[in-house]
Amino acid sequence: MEFKSHKLTNGLTVIGEVNKNAKSTAVGFFVKTGSRDEDLKINGVSHFLEHMVFKGTERLSPFAVNEAFDKTGAQYNAFTSEEGTVFYAAVLPEYLAEITRLWIEMMRPALRTEDFNIEKQVIKEEIAMYKDQPSFDVMDRCRAIYFAGHPCGHSVLGSEESIDAMTAEQMRGYFSQRYAPNNMVAVFAGNFEWEQIRDMVEAGCGDWKNQDVKRTITDTRGARGKQRLDKANLTREHICLMSPAVSAQSDKRFAAALLSMIVGDDVGSRFFWELVDKAIVETASFDFAPMDGTGAYCTYVRCSGENTAKAMKIVASIFVDLTKTGVTEDELTKAKNKVLSAFVIKNEIPMGRLVDLGFNWTYLGQYRPVEDDVKAVKAVTVAEINALLKEYPLGEFAQFSLGPAQNG
């Protein structure tokens, strides 16, 4: 593996990790903008804008964009989070130049009003789709309670109202502030010629104007609180808990990731043995969500109404026990094995590697070879995880539940 990087005078960075053994190459543009960077009046604009990027440029119609991708057989898409917008494609090496040129062109979209109006309908369908996925809906709602007043609580999709009210002009304004070259990084992983790609990005993006781009970064320990919403069409209880954790920049992030494996991996974790194996709940997970300058742990439980109280009592006792007595050597060893094998398998594929390269650059401003992350995971000790548990006790959380109407 060979790492390369280059910074254009306008602030755009190009990075790449060359792996000549790979059969494919992945390319991505990582834009450091998401719902946390939105004014609430235009909540949902980052995600809506991600859709609009696919609607083409002055030269390319929406159909021409789709056909240009499809004729290379690229596997391509984009996603938006609270923190970032990522455009990516995995292609065979012979098509990389074509697809890179296409992405470069698309990063300066036309944002036509007529396309905006059609796509608005699609965004509203996407909002409706997630309403029918209570496991997603409950997390979104819990996030809003936990991050009350903090920009990380902004919904990625926005609401039907905020989308309805949004104008193409507002989106253009947001675009011109946020898609600045110094707020973006072009990332390559897999089989490619570095000089060719670097020159192509230089030629295609060199005239983009840089901007004074800001993000407000404040850590938060989050709000507490407990809410429940009845939904007549549901049959199960869906519960989400959120509590504070370290940020994406913290050196303790590896300990936090291992802790989340110990607490809530889908097999072999404390949640698994105490809740799932005993069939008290159908599913229980615990994830570490590192963010820019802050972080959170997120629990999700799905079970029957009659088991809810019992399940929540067990979750509470697991949290108390962890804070009091910590994790064991044996648990940590197993968690390391699982984290490392998942990490190695994911990074064998250029598309998997792209994501880590891009996020490490976005959050840390650095390249981290796979071996460095492997070393960092291996170095975590029980004492470090136990100290983390004292610093960020799991028992202090915000809770949101969705479920059928309750009797009485």
Binding site: A90, M129, N233
Partner: protein, 410 residues
Amino acid sequence: MKENLDKHKLSNGMMLLGERMEAVESVAFSFILPAGASVMPAGCCGAANVISDWIFRGAGERDNRQLGDALDGLGLQRSGGVDSAHISVGAALEASNLSSAIDLYGDIILRAKLEDEQFAPARQLAIEGVKGLDDDPRHKVMLKLREQFYPEPLGRSTAGEIADLEALTPETTKKIIAERFNPAKTIFSVAGKYDFDAVVRQVEKIFGAKSGSRPRSLKMGAAGGRYKHIPNDGAQVHIGLMTPTVLLKDKNYYNARIAVAVLSGGMGARLFTEVREKRGLCYAVGAQYHAMKEAAGITCYAGTMPDKAQQTFDVIVAEFNRLADGISEEELQRAKVGLKSSLIMQSESSSSRAGSIAGDYYMLGRVRALDKIKAEIDKTSVDSVLTFLRENGFKDFTVVTIGPKEVKVG
């Protein structure tokens, strides 16, 4: 493309397949056991799910907890599940742990403890899984669609039926395991970094002595009705539709795959263009080829708000119908490149290859070399696809909807 296929049949009939991949440090393996939903005895719908959980609750010398700890200790990324024909169990892992993992899976498949006290939670989790589907209409509509489309027992819900699960006993389940865990019809596949001779020796030692009789053949019943609506007061109408097509072994298989790719191979394909890009009717819309050994179909899903459900359905059906009227050379080329690219990209993942070679062997009795598949894709032409469509047009749709509003299926 260089082919790296390994193959060995044990004397009891168990098939061992491998694909060596030079660029990876991982290995993935899978045991494909002939115990899927369609071969469960009548009244035992869902038993396969209970079995795939119960066998992990202690095996060989290890109890439930010890077995879970041993699997986790190897850092296994477990995979598997229940489909119509099979229970599959396997994992992806670092190559150096393969031998220890195969030993553990030998215990799980041949020497599961199957204790009564572990039966109740295994069954309860299967029941929870079925109930959980009610809150996941997008997933549920596709299960119900297959149930409606395929003749019984092929289309049986892989999740199970609550009444059957509630009536299931440890004794019945043990009997099913004894009958169905049949090495003669089991396929073992491995892909990534491994030593095939060593794998063969180890699997032979564990499974070679056990023989089994041939499984019973399926007796097919009728498929369900043409349209089924399940009321649900959700935000969208979830529409599933399915139409019959040719099997994997059919000479027209690649023509069918190209036709589906023209319809839904990418964002430039017809469904996405007509339903989403031009009309803004849906966020999610797409069609796929879905095959069993005995029957195959094209499935299509769309989720849309109730006031747009009818139009969405009509536009989708019109696009299916319009295919036989003609496709362009550009559409054909995009479909070909898309299919070939995804084939090559899948070949970078050990898990994906272990699954594919086992699937091929089950469906065809052989593994298709990637070069052969590419050659077959290249052979298709606008003429061959259109001839196929005119002779085997996509019609006779089976439709299932879940949501606040029905659609008129015409």
